[in-house]
Symmetry: C2
Subunit: 290 residues, 2 copies
């Protein structure tokens, strides 16, 4: 039986490689999702598939949700290790086209690349919190591609170069106008009294699945007002609480940035953490729980 | 013996696939070059390697020019078909790192992916010229990545969607401020009296190898003044002659854009075409010829 350590499946075949002519490699012409897999389930699967579908619509990549789901079932069946892990899906436009000009949607044959890898334990960061370090290189705006999880991530790669090899320090990225966006691997939330604020992400950034769950479900159910807006570093520094969200890792409190300190976790953060943990433990979004 | 039809070599092994964990696929974390190969030589090889080296310095990918050259020699030896063809090289950062955060330069092990494919005959476009069609989606500026030939090309892919399947119509792209940049696969030059103008490309665009040859060698030797500048569509429409350049295809005159018509080729374009053809025929940059 296949081991769950770095199990890979490409277009329903258990191999670890993709054709070099694939446009995912040639142009970053595709999308990805990184999902938490535990107790045989992906808690936020529907939200991941929603975002993937939105990304495919934006990039004009033909995608059948049913096909992705049946391919996922096949992949999950081969995972033998019961420990929590990460399932990563890359969807590319496949091969073809003339240079960067893509084949028509009708003649596109997308590639589905699945990877499963162990989930390293970062539970201590949920308790102790992390520190933010502003990255020097901005994430430049591209309103046409903002929000979706596409494969063109060089700007993030370069922004990450200055960070130490220490998960307790996360990189805070801003756009070229100085508006804060997110951390390199998480969305960012600010709490100010009864208001939950998060950057708008209409020019740059990735709209995370846990970000969506918090905005659409947790916040209203907790009596929190929400605001998606262009936010400055100054507004961040004036927050009562700050936290990061990630669909695989959950919620990490932010305890500081430069000389500013925040409660870690603050009361709102702690409440949202417990709701997230219940969803993660339940294996799916349970309406009663949230 | 291996056929030259779609011959591929990955890290010195003649296979047609790359590991799915490679950061080239995951993040577009790499660069590429597309080179003309004819009569056993790549005419603009040194310029391609210069640009690749500059790109590797920008992206902090460790690259040994000697290693790339020896890998190229090995690849070229396997090409049996004497017909002119295209050699494409993709250099990625390889695998490793933590999410988008790359491995250190010291622990990076870049991948070299070579592809050889037939060169379709487009000589008629050198004679008859092409028409420009402005693309609706701008190429958004990213000054940190401008000029180099990196793998993050989704913006170009999306801009190309509106174009017909007709090589006589090339897509003209502009940045988000409306400055013209290039065509999707070529650099763009304007002739105005004795002045050769081309977009600056300090915010977006690819600085082509033939563009460099023209600016640095052909123009001075032809007594043409050169100007790299932010250029508007209006300035383009007022030009005496317009042409496109590509290191594989050479120079294509532009005969029109909307209702504007240009001589195709104009006298300056024709002169630069003959210089380019001499370099292509000579198999290398020959100082006497230019």
């Amino acid at each position: 039986m296949a081991s769950s350590r770095q199990l890979t499946m490409v277009n329903d075949v258990f191999v670890d490689h993709l054709k070099v002519t694939d446009r995912g490699l040639a142009f970053g012409d595709g999308l990805f999702e990184t999902m938490r897999f535990a107790a045989g389930a992906i808690p936020l699967l529907e939200y991941h598939l929603d975002r993937l579908e939105r990304g495919c619509r934006t990039l004009l990549i033909p995608m059948s949700r049913t096909l992705v789901e049946s391919s996922l079932s096949r992949f999950v069946e081969a995972i033998s290790d019961p420990a929590p892990s990460i399932i990563k899906l890359i969807v590319t436009r496949g091969s073809g086209g003339q240079g960067c000009k893509p084949p028509s949607m009708r003649s596109s044959s997308p590639s589905l690349v699945w990877q499963n890898q162990p989930l390293t334990d970062t539970a201590h960061l949920s308790r102790s919190g992390v520190t933010l370090q502003p990255c020097r290189i901005p994430i430049y705006s591209n309103p046409h591609l903002a929000g979706i999880k596409h494969l063109n991530r060089l700007n993030y790669v370069m922004a990450a170069f200055d960070l130490p090899d220490n998960p307790e320090i996360q990189g805070l990225v801003s756009d070229e106008k100085g508006h804060i966006l997110e951390s390199l691997h998480h969305n960012l939330f600010l709490v100010k009294k009864n208001l939950l604020m998060t950057p708008l992400l209409d020019g740059a950034g990735v709209k995370g699945v846990l970000r969506r769950l918090i905005l659409e479900r947790f916040a209203p159910n907790c009596g929190l007002a929400v605001r998606e807006a262009a936010l400055s570093l100054d507004e961040l520094l004036l927050a009562d609480e700050v936290f990061l969200t990630n669909g695989v890792r959950g919620i990490w409190p932010v305890k500081g940035l430069a000389t500013t300190r925040w409660p870690s976790p603050g009361p709102v953060t702690a409440r949202l953490q417990s709701l997230t943990e219940a969803v993660f433990a339940g294996g799916h979004i349970n309406k009663e729980q949230i």
